[in-house]
Amino acid sequence: MSDDDIALSEVERGAGIVRCDACPVLCRIRPGRAGACDRYANEDGKLVRVDPLVLLAKPDLARVAFVEGSAAWRGELGKGEGAFVTGIGATTTYPDYKPAPFIVSSRHDGVDMVTVVTEGIFSYCGVKVKIDTDRYLGPEQAAVRVKGEAVGHVTTAEYGSQMLSLGGVHHLTGGSKKEGVVTCEALLALCNREAVELAIDGGATVVVQADKPPIVNGTREERMRVGCGSAAIGMFAPQWKDHVDEVIVVDDHITGVLSEHQGGRFLDIKPAGIRVRGRRSTPGRYFQVAEPGLGWGGTNVSDPLEIIEKIDSKQAWPGLKLLMVSTTGEHSAWFELDKDLTPRPAAMPAAVRHVVDRIAENCEPALCTVLFMAGAGGSLRAGVTENPVRLTRSVRDTLTKVTLGGVPAYVWPGGGITLMVDVARMPEKSFGYVPTPALVAPIEFTLRADDYAALGGYASRAVSLDDVLRAHKVRVDEDGQ
């Protein structure tokens, strides 16, 4: 086929069409659409791999993408020293054909190292999502749906967080085709740090995006509370002791009352006679002081005095100093009882304000975290070495470091190479997919050159980093971070 055959017309160029030359089909692709293979797309007039090849100058430094056909940034990393080739966009090759696409030798601290760089097709993969919120998202084991398809389930809640387990082989390939496609799309979006709306059977709708606050039923979660109202009493009682007569920490889960609470009794704080609404659990701990809502401490209360049922004149006294505060420190108020034992707002003493601020300071920002979890299968390992089980053992013995897009992975104990990695730390758009459906993720194995040879690696295939840089045109990723 001559060059003329693949040249685009003026009109086509004007319409933003690009010609993909990644395979012989030579698709012409309109802006915002993908070619016949779904692997290459036209993004703002540029042909991009859905998962572009990325190179890290150093694991922590600016990231560099290989862009075929562009010489603009060539040579930025020509030195090669300390650079790290990620598997992102490396494409995949398999043992039946050939070893992994890049086997790069380099020197670190005078030791010869080899990094085997590839992209894995992970049929067994999913994400574990941690959502920092105390709001009830749904019952454990409830299905989590996207576009009506079950893509995972609610799993064991953790302290201050709700947990979801999404994806996995049963949703990807074990259910209907649509379920698989929707699951794959949802996983891909979550792994590439896009927002996904998840609907939980018998529960909430939550928008999840890695490293961003969750949005539960349309409300953005700002802070993760320091603990429940009771826990807050326990944590801060000694700091309040000399400045207050009573503290009520308003919380939709458990509201704490200092003078009745074990924490206050231990400090000999005398009973103050202020009774709150709700159902007493144990001394100083009350359930259901109000309805859930967007007011104080996750309740529907905007005036904290609403939760006070009565003030016992046998115990309370004029001048009694009362602090009311929410579990995040977002809301607080200071009252003193007048001669009729009615709480009157007053200026909060600096020492008390200081402790309120400390509650807020101890609240972490509420985030969603997305951990990609997958197993490196037999053929992926065979792309690294002719003797795959030795790679497993080498990883297990920590002689081989496993990274995804340059980010160290946690490798589970036990058999195989089952790993987890925080997608927020990986370069943007690290993930792709194949129509199987399954996710494609970069994976790199780094080990000493002599260890690599010993485990049956394709040592003769190793090329120097300089050669890799020379063979590919290199561009500094402008949003490198």
């Binding site: 069409i17 395979c23 089909v25 692709i29 293979c37 039946d96 053929s379």
Partner: protein, 281 residues
């Protein structure tokens, strides 16, 4: 990007080159299976390059002049769509099935296998021997049916057309699954039948194919982009049209059976064989 081959963890062979994505499985003695896989890998590298050389012919609407491409896959495509030339059709309507048929032939040639299949994105070519059978699941919203394929039936190809796939359809079917003598024949017929599952309604969004893909063989024909909620009567009407076309093709001897779905409603067109057993629910 060159062709890649992979073994899936369960042993199946995965071949991919550009838009071609094949899952292949052979059953029989282990060494025969391995040799058949080698034959498939060997054959595969040439499939796409040869095909693309004749793409201009293959994207042209078939009229009374029988297209005469040279490549073996291209010839299968032309042959499969030829009977349907009364409507707008190009050989591309059978590309996936034709690739599956060609790869199946390479896979089984000279090998002693119990059975085998080549699945090209849902268009499946099948090899059977006496006393061995394959079950093809039909998915629309769930596992909606199973076609039991046995040696004594004339079905060696299964294909599905419908929304959610990668190719465009003029119709609105969720799925149109066809059983036929070859995968290419099934593929072409599924396309034709899928196009006839159709009605007019504002909830159906259509756009000229070329606006989406400048290379589409469908030119300016309006392809279905999205289907919103439809009145139940229209769902039935669309399915009835598809079923009538399926029946016509079966009586012409072009297909063995078909199953159509739209919004959870089904139509079956079958002579009482394979499909009838599975889709009772």
């Amino acid at each position: 990007m060159s062709a890649i081959a992979a073994r899936l963890s369960d042993g199946r062979l995965h071949l991919q080159h550009g838009p071609i994505d094949l899952i292949i499985e052979a059953f029989g003695a282990a060494d025969e299976v391995e040799r058949s896989y080698s034959q498939a890998v060997e054959r595969f590298g040439d499939i796409l390059p040869t095909l693309v050389r004749e793409l201009p012919i293959l994207r042209r609407c078939v009229t009374d002049a029988h297209p005469l491409p040279h490549g073996p896959v291209a010839r299968r495509m032309a042959e499969a769509v030829w009977p349907h030339r009364a409507v707008y059709i190009t050989p591309m309507a059978a590309v996936a099935g034709a690739v599956a048929d060609e790869m199946l032939q390479a896979l089984v040639k000279g090998r002693r296998l119990d059975k085998a299949y080549v699945n090209d994105g849902g268009d499946i070519a099948i090899h059977l021997t006496p006393d061995h059978e394959l079950h093809a699941g039909i998915f629309a919203t769930a596992l909606d049916g199973v076609a039991r394929l046995t040696f004594d039936q004339p079905v060696r190809g299964v294909a599905t057309s419908g929304r959610g796939g990668r190719s465009f359809s003029l119709g609105i079917a969720d799925s149109a699954t066809v059983l036929a003598a070859t995968a290419a024949a099934a593929d072409a017929a599924a396309t034709v039948i899928g196009n006839t599952v159709n009605v007019h309604h504002p909830a159906i969004e259509r756009r000229p194919a070329r606006e989406l893909d400048p290379d589409s063989d469908l030119g300016d024909l309006p392809v279905t982009v999205a289907v919103g909620a439809l009145p139940p009567a229209l769902v039935e009407e669309a399915l009835d049209r598809g079923a009538a076309e399926a029946r016509r093709l079966r009586l012409c001897g072009l297909i063995e059976g078909a199953a159509l779905s739209l919004f959870g409603r089904w139509r079956l067109e079958t002579a009482g064989m394979a499909l009838a057993e599975g889709l009772a629910g």
